[in-house]
Symmetry: C2
Subunit: 392 residues, 2 copies
């Protein structure tokens, strides 16, 4: 009865396990939530009143698939600040950046095409692409992000490559940032091999060290980089407002698929985000958010340092929301998660982030959405469990 | 570079032509807009203030893919009033009913599957399904909607049938309503042939004659009907809030695809719609909307009656937003549209609504979104053009 693709989507174990972590008694490092303290609730109340007073009818009517013109202008300016010179015709507003990935799949993927991606990569990108029957070729990573030499190797040893999917800034799940040198290298590799790049950049503004790196797209001289981003981590995720920035020829295809997918993105929400950027100081807002995130990251790293056994390796992200833990190979984090949940702590098993499986000894920890007292408590419990497992 | 499916999506001629009709100088019967006068702008302002005061943080945070619990409870009651006995677990909130169709395609369609549909059928359903490479078998319609005998013929003469897609209430594009007798017959046919039905019902509340018919799903004894609907025509379309009601086994598949598609639907907007139903009298609201629509329908029919040549046939819808015009076979409405736009009037050429093409002598006219003085003027101009064409 169902389509063949439903077989890939066996009810996600991660999701089922994490349903348990909804309870208040569980300290969950499994989610990917922005800090609630960061949402501009009061400002949004003023904004809603203004929109409904000045443009009430327009905010409730059908709108064009491309998105709110004012918001696209704002995004052009945001892109400009990152060294990407573009125009509103190159911008499509999407229902979160997740929809940018769904439209990417529709516009590019035929059955059997190869997607190059970091190993590990973003779980929900795998879920967006898989329904279109691609193969995944995973590229090695190190502390500087994906390894250009391995990218070349995988380009040369795979057929029907459609694109490279990459999260250069504070990657989900590892928290790693692609180095400046490598950004330039990868842009050159893309030109040489005529490679399309999907640059997914939801976390770039959550930079803790004041050393923002220019996006891959800013080095793109041939219109090969499709940049996908979101307001979920700068304003709030509940409104589901993201965007795709790409040459107009590509945006035009995305728009056609957008029409069949959901016609257009919630127009009121587009106006909310546009007004927020027009009326308030996003830089000040981000500065105070980053303080929260940075402090939570520090607390998590300190507690790991104090409580995790010395065999455990982990990343030290300079931004974003996650860090990545690699345990001795004898430990399976799926089994560990069951034990950990019994003691009131949740995380995501790392194997979920590898499209071709394996790596059962890894886990992702989220620090952005958990209060510091809970981080201390939860990480200490995890440390105790890890000690018990390793000493076995 | 692009996927094979992009070939089907040659830039829609309809869309390109209708872009011209955005200008204020054009009277457009081409859109599908609810009357702006129908939007509860003042009420929404109160609602926004309440949400941000009472649940500001929650309204801005990530939420579960299934949708807002309170809104799903409201939908269960709406379904109950229609004779559909269901539970919140059988409801998924979608980004407009259009997304219900996209998720249907993902959950059910393999390349080469056959979709049964009315002839003509909803244009954007064709666009939602086509990227998944189905075949379409069109079922004959008459004034009582799709013809059960032809449905049986097509079931028996086609292989790999996946589902019947139908819009029983004031169908887009014809405005026709499936008769009560036929609803029962089709439910029986579905049971006999183990046929899945996608019942798309965006217009059922826009009933002008106080004679609402029970949905196909209310006759469903085997969980074969997937009911898709929306708040776009009862509250407003800009918020993009719709739903799917189906047995939980099916909803579970849809939820998995929803996660990869856009994670969840705008949560603030779900709260807006839920509060509207909790705090205001939707029945009173609909009553006044229906007055507007009914009066516009009457004006359009009266003017057609007075000004169109007698050779022209048209439907007389008892609800909804559209009527359907069939011209003598010698007239091509695509060519007619070019002439008509020059004289300041737009419509949609009917051939766009036939997945297998043909029927160039038909057109769809929207009455819900056009003021009555403009309806009189625009239809009169169209009448003049038709006379000239037929007298040629």
């Amino acid at each position: 009865m169902f389509a063949r693709r439903t077989e890939f989507l066996k009810a996600s174990e991660v999701r089922e396990l994490l349903k348990l972590s909804d309870s208040d008694e569980i300290i969950s490092f499994g989610g990917g939530l922005p800090a609630e303290e960061s949402f501009p609730v009061g400002e949004m109340r003023e904004i809603c009143n203004q929109i409904l007073e000045e443009s009430g009818v327009k905010s409730m009517q059908y709108a064009i698939s491309e998105g709110h013109a004012g918001l696209r202008n704002i995004i052009v300016k945001l892109m400009e600040e990152k060294g990407i010179h573009t125009s509103p015709d190159d911008i499509l507003i999407t229902s979160g950046s997740q929809q940018g990935l769904d439209l990417t799949a529709k516009a590019f993927l035929d059955e059997g095409d190869t997607i190059l991606c970091e190993s590990p990569t973003y779980l929900s990108a795998i879920n967006a692409f898989k329904p279109f029957y691609p193969r995944f070729a995973e590229i090695d990573m190190d502390e500087e992000g994906l390894v250009p030499e391995d990218l070349i190797r995988k380009i040369e040893s795979n057929s029907r490559i459609k694109f490279l999917y990459t999260v250069p800034d504070y990657q989900n799940p590892t928290g790693r940032r692609l180095s400046l040198e490598r950004r330039k290298e990868i842009a050159e590799i893309a030109n040489k091999y005529k490679l399309i790049i999907i640059e997914d950049s939801p976390y770039s503004e959550l930079c803790f060290d004041n050393r923002k790196l220019p996006p891959l797209k800013s080095f793109d001289t041939q219109g090969r980089v499709i940049y996908v981003s979101t307001f979920s981590k700068t304003v709030c995720p509940g409104y589901r407002i993201g965007w795709v920035c790409a040459p107009q020829e590509i945006i035009n295809k995305y728009v056609l698929f957008k029409q069949g997918t959901d016609i257009h993105t919630n127009f009121f929400a587009q106006m909310q985000i546009a007004r927020y950027y027009e009326k308030y100081d996003i830089k000040e807002h981000l500065k105070s958010n980053i303080e929260i995130y940075k402090s939570r990251r520090d607390t998590m790293l300190d507690t790991i340092e104090r409580t995790f056994p010395k065999e455990v390796e982990y990343t030290r992200p300079e931004g974003g929301m996650f860090l990545w833990v690699t345990l001795p190979e004898s430990i399976n984090t799926k089994e560990l998660l069951v034990k950990s949940l019994k003691r009131g702590v949740a995380f995501v098993q790392g194997s979920a982030f590898f499209p071709n499986g394996g790596h059962e000894n890894t886990m992702r920890l989220n620090f952005s959405g958990v209060r510091e007292d809970k981080i201390r408590k939860g990480i200490s419990i995890l440390g105790e469990i890890l000690k018990e497992e390793i000493d076995k």
